[in-house]
Symmetry: D2
Subunit: 120 residues, 4 copies
C-alpha cells in the first residue's frame, strides 16, 4: 500500500474494520476522535521541538525518519477513524479548502512573499 | 474528487503545486508543518469543546457539518503539505501502524472492552 | 510551596534559574516554548481521552490524580519558561482577559445557559 | 495585579467566581477543561507559526506583544478553571516536577548541551 495506489476510502474501510472487529465503535464520537488526532499530532511536533531553524528540522527528519513515519501512521489512523465515525469525505473537504485558499492567495499577489503568513 | 476515487498522491501533488506556484516551499519545514497540523486540529476540537457526552458531540456534528468539513479540509491540506515537504508516504505509514496496533490489541482479548483505552 | 503562598514570580524565577544553571536559555524562544506548552497539554488531554461523559472524566481524575498532577507540573514549568523567555506578566494577562470575558458574557444574560459555549 | 504580588490561589478564586456567578460549573469537567487549555495554547502557537528561526520568533513577539498577552490570558484562565474544577495545586505540581527534572538533568552533566533535548 502506498500513496500512489491507495484511495482514502481504502484507509477508512480498514480503520472501520479495525474498530468493528473489536466492537469499539461504541467508545467513539466526534469529540473524542478530534482529541485523539490532536494527541497524535502533538507527538509528531515533539520530535522537532528543539529544532530552532529549518535546517535543524530537516536534519532531525532524516535522523528520526522511522519515528516520524510511526507518528504519521498514528495521525492517519486517528484521522480515518474520525472520518469514518463522522461520515466525512476527506478528499472533498481537501478540494473545497484548496480552492478557497487558492482564491484567497492569488499567485500574482503573493508569489514568494511571506507576508501572507503574518495575516492572522 | 471524493474518497473513493482519490489517492493520497493526488492530494499531495495538488498541495505541492499550490506551494510551488506561490514559491512558498522556502517557508516550510517539518517543524513548522507539524505545528501547522496541530493548529488546524485544535480548530476542529474547538467545535466539540463543550459537548460533554457522545450524544451531544453527534448533535453538534450534524448542526455544524459544514464547519467540520471546513476544518477537516484545513487538516488534510496541512497534512499533505507536511507529507510533501518531508517526503513521507502516508498510506504506508498507516498500513504499518494499523498492523502494529492490531497485533497489540488482538480481537479475542479486547473485543468490546474499554480497558485498552486506559493503558496509557 | 502551594497556591496560597506562592506568587507567579516565584515560579518564574525558579524556571529561570533552572535554565540559567544549565546554560539552556540559548535553546529557547517564543515559538519553541509555545510548542512545548502544547506538547505537555496534549499529555494531560490524553489522560481523559476516552472519557465520554463528565462522570467518567471525574472518575479518571481520582484514579489518576498523581498522573494528572505530574502533567500539570510539566505544563506549569513550560508556561513559566515561556513567560520568562518572552517577558510576559501572567497575572496581568489573566486579569485583562477575565475582565474582557466577563464583559462579553454579562451574568444577567448568560446565567446557567450553555448557548454561550456554542458561539464559536 | 501582577506576577510579583499575585498568588495562584487569587487567580483560581477569580476563575471560580466567574463560573459560579454564571452557574457554569455544570458544563465543566477535567476532559473538557484540558481540551480548552489545548485550544487556547494552539492560538498562541499560531502567532509564531511561520517563524523559522529564533530571531524571527523574538521579532514576532515584539510586533505582536499584545496579541501574545491576550492568548496567554486565555491560557491562564483555562488553566485556572481546570485547577479549580479538578482541585489541583499548581504550585505544588510545579515544585515536584522541577525537582524531578533537575534530578534528571544534573547541571554538571548537561550544562550548555543540547543533547538532552533529543532524548525523547
Amino acid at each position: 500500500m502506498n500513496d500512489t495506489n491507495t484511495t482514502l476510502s481504502v484507509l477508512k474501510a480498514q480503520a472501520e474494520k479495525f474498530l468493528e472487529e473489536r466492537n469499539w465503535k461504541q467508545f467513539h464520537n466526534p469529540k473524542t476522535d478530534s482529541v485523539n488526532i490532536a494527541v497524535e499530532v502533538a507527538e509528531l511536533m515533539e520530535i522537532f521541538l528543539y529544532d530552532n531553524s529549518s535546517e535543524d528540522a530537516f536534519i532531525t527528519l532524516e535522523k528520526k525518519r522511522s519515528h516520524v513515519e510511526d507518528e504519521l501512521g498514528d495521525i492517519m489512523l486517528a484521522l480515518c477513524v474520525f472520518a469514518e465515525i463522522a461520515k466525512v469525505d476527506l478528499a472533498a473537504a481537501f478540494e473545497q479548502k484548496l480552492a478557497k485558499t487558492a482564491a484567497k492567495y492569488p499567485v500574482e499577489k503573493v508569489r514568494g512573499r511571506k507576508e501572507k503568513y503574518d495575516e492572522y
